[in-house]
């Protein structure tokens, strides 16, 4: 619908047009539904055109909130999130979000205003060299030098951001280019990027090699990362795992790619992963990595990582293969295409009865645990309640810290695209605004924004968006009166010298919510939690719940820095 309207508009539009017109038209052609933007001098020509645009414009109260919201939107919708920021401080405020999106491979199109072409380089008012600043943290970036280039650049940017390994693309637009007029008719452009041709189809020989390796294997595991989600390949992953009876381990970012309730699911691996998953990686003889990048928080000390395994790695980014872990079966491909080919091979499943029994035993003997008898409200208990009361099908968006790990451990995802978290960069302040984008991408879903008391205070200002759009996000604060994850490390590695990690003096989060017209609750016990959650989780209203959880609780198991995956601490009470 939107596209049709845009097309007819294009035809009837008379020339000359401004750069800003061309830009908006290009966005309409890409079916952009929502823009997260913040105005300022250098983008005024663009904002003047947005005044009449049909595209929903969301005004965050800080550009960083805007870009994190766009990330949440991108993760859930699978489409690039679109951001606008003005030059100078507007542009530098989005730097963290770009780095975050780059690390976690999220497609973004970010427009920054720039000072007029004639004064670039003169330290003009609100000038920042945003191309220089963002080159290492974008998949690609552009500065528009001529009005006529706008349609091509926008088209290329969407293509680059959303194909291959997704990532953020920044387009810097000098003010005179946005305001300037072109009298040339808009040319139809084709994407022509000879240096960018992602490999999607797997190499047949490697697929054969892997199929044979599986048949011969006695202890196979699949490690499934976010590549499965970006490639929309969860159906194929399930089919392949079932066909070959290979147990599946997830990375933090991959959660939901494979159903947690499936008998072949082992659990999440890594620094706070479960015993069975970490031992599975340590003991396996064949490790099939699908779309994970062997991040150090997953592998622990590389010297002890998967010491007995033949490693196969399916990744759309060839540079990830062999980067951290030597790989004998490299498969550069899109996860879905590779899995389809593997399924077609219909190889002989491995004979691995003992292995499956060993894994079950690990799972039974060393599950996640917490003190269920405690009089204190345990954060893990709250996560379990949230899981059961949303039937495991909410969209869970987290910030960074202990609460993030408890969410990953206790919210057992059965579906893809229900999980948004900042993994690679570990950005505090990400969760709450990202939940706003997630809700906009899926308006019907129940969205839980799981935040720490510390991280929430890095983006409280975005309560304004919730109020303005009346988004039914459920803001869940795990209030442990501390920068909990830092407190935990200080307890364990710095002899409990809690240097600047306790924050006993806190605002009233409930009053803060109320200031934005949002209902708030403080919850101190399971009984209260029962009552309030039943009331608020199923209505279409925003809410903030301040859970006063046990301030001394730690996340276990835990792998200390420098240790191998098998050296988990705290696997048993």
């Amino acid at each position: 619908m939107l596209q049709e309207a845009a097309l007819t508009e294009t035809k009837t539009e008379t020339y000359p047009v401004t750069g800003a017109d061309l830009l908006l038209r290009a966005l309409e052609k890409e079916n952009v539904e929502v823009i997260f933007g913040y105005p300022g001098g250098a983008v005024l020509p663009l904002y003047d055109k947005l005044y009449h645009s049909k595209i929903l414009h969301v005004l965050p109260r800080h550009e960083q909130g805007g870009i994190h919201a766009a990330e949440g939107y991108a993760r859930i919708s699978g489409k690039p999130g679109v951001v606008i920021a003005t030059s100078g401080p507007g542009a530098t405020n989005i730097v963290t979000g770009l780095a975050d999106a780059m690390m976690d491979s999220l497609p973004l199109i970010v427009f920054t205003g720039q000072v007029a072409t004639g004064v670039i380089g003169s330290d003009a008012f609100q000038e920042a060299d945003i191309l220089g600043i963002t080159t290492p943290i974008t998949k690609y970036n552009y500065q528009v030098r001529s009005i006529e280039d706008i349609p091509r650049i926008v088209k290329e940017a969407f293509y680059i951001a959303s194909t291959g390994r997704p990532g953020p693309v920044l387009i810097d637009i000098p003010k005179d280019i946005a305001a300037g007029v072109s009298d040339q008719p808009e040319k139809e452009t084709e994407v022509n990027l000879p240096g960018y041709q992602p490999t999607l189809k797997p190499n047949y020989l490697q697929i054969r090699k892997l199929t044979e390796a599986v048949s011969r294997s006695k202890k196979p595991v699949i490690l499934a990362g976010a590549g499965v989600l970006h490639g929309r390949a969860s159906k194929e992953l399930k089919e392949y795992a079932e066909q070959q009876q290979i147990p599946v381990i997830h990375t933090l970012l991959g959660l939901g790619g494979f159903p947690a309730s499936h008998p072949l699911f082992i659990g999440m691996a890594g620094m706070h992963g479960c015993y069975a998953a970490n031992m599975g990686l340590t003991e396996c003889d064949l490790l099939i990595n699908i779309g994970a990048r062997f991040d150090d928080r997953l592998t622990g000390n590389l010297q002890h990582f998967a010491p007995h395994a033949k490693v196969a790695h399916i990744d759309i980014d060839p540079a990830e293969i062999g980067k951290n872990v030597p790989t004998s079966i490299p498969i550069v491909a899109d996860a879905k295409e590779a899995l389809e080919q593997l399924i077609l091979q219909d190889g002989k499943p491995p004979a691995h009865k003992e292995w499956m029994e060993t894994i079950s035993r690990w799972q039974e003997e060393y599950p996640y645990y917490y003190d269920k008898e405690s009089v204190q409200l345990k954060p893990q208990k709250v996560m379990e309640m949230l899981h059961s009361k949303t039937e495991g099908d909410a969209i869970v968006v987290t910030d960074v810290g202990q609460h993030q790990m408890w969410a990953a451990q206790y919210y057992r995802f059965n579906n893809a695209d229900r999980w948004v978290t900042s993994g690679g960069l570990g950005t505090m302040g990400f969760g709450f605004p990202a939940s706003i984008g997630a809700q906009l991408a899926n308006p019907e879903a129940c969205v839980l924004a799981i935040c720490g008391d510390g991280g929430f205070q890095m983006s409280t200002q975005e309560l304004a968006i919730i109020q303005e759009l009346n988004l039914p996000v459920k803001i869940i604060i795990f209030n442990n009166m501390a920068l909990g994850m830092v407190r935990q490390w200080q307890e364990i590695f710095y002899e409990s010298r809690f240097s600047h990690s306790k924050i006993p003096l806190q605002p009233s989060f409930v009053k803060l919510a109320e200031a934005y017209g949002i209902k708030g609750y403080v919850i101190q016990s399971e009984e209260e939690a029962e009552e309030v959650l039943d009331e608020v989780l199923h209505n279409r209203e925003p809410v903030l719940i301040d859970f006063r959880v046990d301030p001394d609780e730690n996340v276990y198991p835990m792998i200390a820095p420098g240790k191998g995956l098998h050296e988990m601490a705290g696997v048993k009470p």
Binding site: T135, Y140, G195, K323
Partner: protein, 172 residues
């Protein structure tokens, strides 16, 4: 170990910055980098000499470079039969009684004198880096006032010898 990597890149704004940025972001050690237009319009050729620990590190460099949108082609040509040249300009102190001696060093290296003043002369030398290096060492005792090197530029020879041959010829 030392690797010579050849790149063909789109001549777009900021492309050199992208390449050098990548080297610093990934903590790769560049010894030299040389850039110039290539035989194709709109494309440049970059030659980088890098130091890496092992072959997996050089593979990583090649892959990361290849990922760059503006990079069309990357080849690690170290193990191929190649022609590689570097140019250096050396301004060396030369008083009348050392001048002849310096000339006698220049000749076997096929270097040339391109400027002379009362107390110095400027020598231009081209060749593989080792040769340039050796010449600089020889000339150092006379007092080098200024030195400028272009870094290596290289590409594969027209005909490739099949096996890797170690160079047994003199560097001169």
């Amino acid at each position: 170990m030392k690797r010579i990597i050849c790149l063909t890149v789109m001549n777009r704004p900021g492309v050199l910055n992208r390449i050098t940025n990548l080297f610093s972001k990934r903590n790769f050690n560049i010894e030299s980098i040389s850039v110039g237009l290539s035989e194709h319009e709109g494309m440049s050729r970059i030659t980088c000499v890098v130091h890496v620990e092992d072959s997996s590190a050089s593979e990583q460099i090649t892959k990361q470079l290849n990922k760059q949108i503006d990079v069309i082609k990357v080849t690690d040509i170290t193990d191929q039969s190649i022609v590689a040249r570097e140019l250096a300009l050396i301004k060396v102190q030369a008083v009348p009684y050392t001048r002849n001696e310096i000339y006698s060093l220049i000749e076997p290296f096929r270097a040339s004198v391109i400027d002379v003043s009362k107390d110095s002369m400027t020598v231009q030398i081209t060749g593989e880096s080792d040769k340039v290096e050796a010449f600089i060492e020889l000339i150092k005792p006379y007092g080098i006032k200024e030195l400028a090197r272009t870094g290596t530029t290289a590409f594969p020879r027209g005909t490739q010898r099949t096996s890797q041959q170690s160079k047994s010829y003199s560097i001169v």
